[in-house]
């Protein structure tokens, strides 16, 4: 647990977390992942009506599919980048 915290702190401090988030965002857009989920979310809202859906509802419904449909290539790439980052940090 301590290690996880340390890594997270390092990522935030150096600004790497933001950079990685941005990269991930771009990759997920480029492969169509975001648009697929957008469509899914819109369908849910359409079905239930905008008044009857909360953000938490949407998140709960969309998350399982979202997690499952992240392309392996994207996961691999991010993992690799995090590893590279960590290997460059002294004292971690």
């Amino acid at each position: 647990m301590r290690m996880k915290e340390k890594i997270n702190q390092k990522l935030i401090e150096t600004g790497e977390k933001e950079r990685l988030k941005e990269l991930l965002r771009t990759q997920l857009i480029e492969c169509g992942w975001r648009d697929e989920l957008k469509v899914h979310a819109k369908e849910i809202v359409k079905e239930r009506g905008i008044e009857n859906v909360t953000v938490d509802n949407l998140i709960a419904e969309v998350t399982p599919k979202a997690r499952a449909s992240v392309p392996d290539a994207v996961k691999k790439d991010l993992l690799q980048r995090i590893r590279t980052f960590l290997s460059q940090q002294p004292g971690l």
Partner: protein, 510 residues
């Protein structure tokens, strides 16, 4: 979108103002500076879990961070009666009384301004938000009340081009380019950032951008493209002069200059010219695969070359073919024209079949096989590895040899919709034959639609270029220099055809 927030948020703002939100947003959501990031790293963790968690929320009433997953922020809200919290991922305000996120105009503006400021300093990325006119823009819109409505009969995007002296070859290519859907979108969205700071008036891409503005301005008087002509002469010396030039050559030269002038905008282009990401490469570049098979050991040597166009032979069976076998393998659907050995008519599909068939290179043209290490007789086959978004087919109608120059006027029929599936590299099997059974389900991804046709009238010594372009999905117009007239699809398909422009019907994610 409802930007009125909620009663609870309004009452909070009355009591505490916007400062709490301002601070939380600036420190923990934007966190632009080095110092801010350190602070964020050290303090953003769930006070109950004692560790960093996804969907952290910061209480607006006191200094407390709680996670959403274990409902620690919910508990805090309930116990302390602190009903407002800010989600640290996106800066959205959660009202626990209402049970959902609420959006307040004032707070949205604060958030947007903070982000914009940080983005200007290059510290943070600016988020994409829908266009909201500023007060200055609203005033401009009110002062200029004239609006142009695009209807079916709207002629916007159509404009004649004055012939400056045998420049019809240039005019036709300009018409084709200004009606290339993706290119048009790129320039009308003002996406070009000029890389030539010192002499911006030498940039061909800027000139092209201005050209698009001219075409879509709604002005009906023909445009005089003298600046474009001058720039072309400057950057493509071989095309300078008032003689009639080849439209195809101009097309390739224009793409080359635009590609060069775009460079530097996108990274990676300096080191690897084949991986340029400029708009020209994104739209026009495809990959042509060449497979050379050694007839002895069957070893295949493959290369892939980028292309901007495909030049197709029309099916002449003269002595240019090394192998006598090919004389009888003619795939053209028409009869052979006795004296010239050119078929009277053929189709685009036949030309493509011919282009992608396996060709025996003959005993006088042996290639060194990498496995055998000696020169062997081989077969060579060209197939499409990667299809471009816009495909340009060049029908080789002009023959130049030491003995003669002539134009081949064979009629080539071309379709309105073209499926490239059977010419793809993926269809090539070991024998080098392409699976071309009609019963195959055609892939959506390989379907193309015709949008421009450049025609050459006359002979090789004195000729004239005109073109047909498609507007509004199914309206065709003939462009003859300054004269634009309505045309029918049938007229287009009946025309001789020299350069055929197709665009992919469906754009897919890779």
């Amino acid at each position: 979108m409802n930007l009125d927030g909620c009663a609870h948020l309004r009452s909070f703002k009355t009591r505490k103002g916007t400062e709490p939100f301002r601070i939380v947003h600036s420190y923990f959501i934007i966190a632009a500076s080095q110092e801010a990031r350190k602070r964020k790293a050290n303090s953003c963790y769930c006070h109950m879990c004692k560790q960093h968690r996804p969907r952290l929320h910061a209480c607006l009433h006191c200094v407390f961070f709680g996670c959403h997953g274990a409902r620690h922020i919910h508990e805090h809200a309930r116990v302390k009666q602190h009903n407002l919290a800010v989600d640290l991922s996106y800066g959205a305000v959660m009202c626990f009384s209402c049970g959902d996120y609420v959006y307040d105009r004032e707070l949205e503006t604060i958030a947007r301004d903070q982000r914009r400021k940080a983005a200007k300093n290059g510290q943070v990325k600016e988020l994409c938000c829908p266009w909201d006119p500023t007060s200055a823009e609203i005033e401009l819109l009110q002062r200029n009340p004239k609006r142009r409505k695009i209807t079916e009969s709207s002629t916007i995007g159509l404009r004649g081009l004055i012939n400056l002296g045998n420049t019809c070859f240039m005019n036709c290519i300009v018409q084709a380019l200004t009606h290339t859907p993706l290119l048009r979108d790129y320039f009308l969205a003002d996406r070009h950032n000029c890389q030539m700071e010192d002499n911006a008036n030498m940039c061909l891409v800027c000139e092209l951008s201005r050209l698009f503005q001219e075409f879509y301005s709604g002005v009906r008087v023909p445009h005089i493209p003298f600046r474009l002509l001058h720039l072309v002469w400057t950057h493509a010396r071989h095309l300078a002069g008032y003689e009639q030039q080849d439209a195809h050559e101009f097309f390739i030269a224009a793409l080359d200059v635009i590609h060069r002038h775009c460079k530097g905008q996108n990274s990676e282009s300096e080191t690897n010219p084949h991986h340029c990401n400029c708009i020209i490469d994104q739209i026009f570049t495809g990959g042509l695969q060449s497979d050379v098979t050694c007839q002895h050991c069957r070893c295949v040597s493959t290369t892939i070359d980028p292309f901007w166009d495909i030049s197709l032979d029309l099916g002449s069976d003269d002595a240019r073919n090394n192998n006598n076998d090919t004389v009888n393998r003619g795939t053209s659907s028409g009869k052979l024209n006795g004296c010239d050995n050119h078929p009277e008519s053929t189709t685009l599909t036949d030309c493509l079949k011919r282009f992608t068939r396996a060709e025996h290179l003959g005993s006088s043209a042996k290639i060194k096989c990498n496995a055998c290490q000696i020169n062997r007789e081989s077969t060579k086959q060209l197939t499409m590895k990667k299809l471009p978004l816009v495909a340009c087919f060049h029908l080789k109608r002009f023959e130049h040899s030491t003995r003669y120059h002539k134009k081949i006027s064979t009629y080539v029929s071309f379709p309105q919709y073209l499926d490239m599936t059977s010419f793809m590299s993926s269809r090539r099997n070991d024998n080098g034959y392409i699976n071309g059974t009609i019963a195959e389900i055609n892939s959506d991804n390989n379907r193309y639609a015709l949008f421009a046709v450049v025609n050459h009238l006359g002979t090789i010594e004195s000729g004239h270029y005109t073109c047909y372009i498609r507007q509004h999905k199914d309206q065709w117009f003939k462009c003859d220099d300054a004269l634009i007239s309505k045309a029918t699809l049938q007229q287009v398909l009946d025309s001789e055809g020299y350069l055929l422009f197709y665009h992919k019907q469906f754009l897919e994610y890779e």
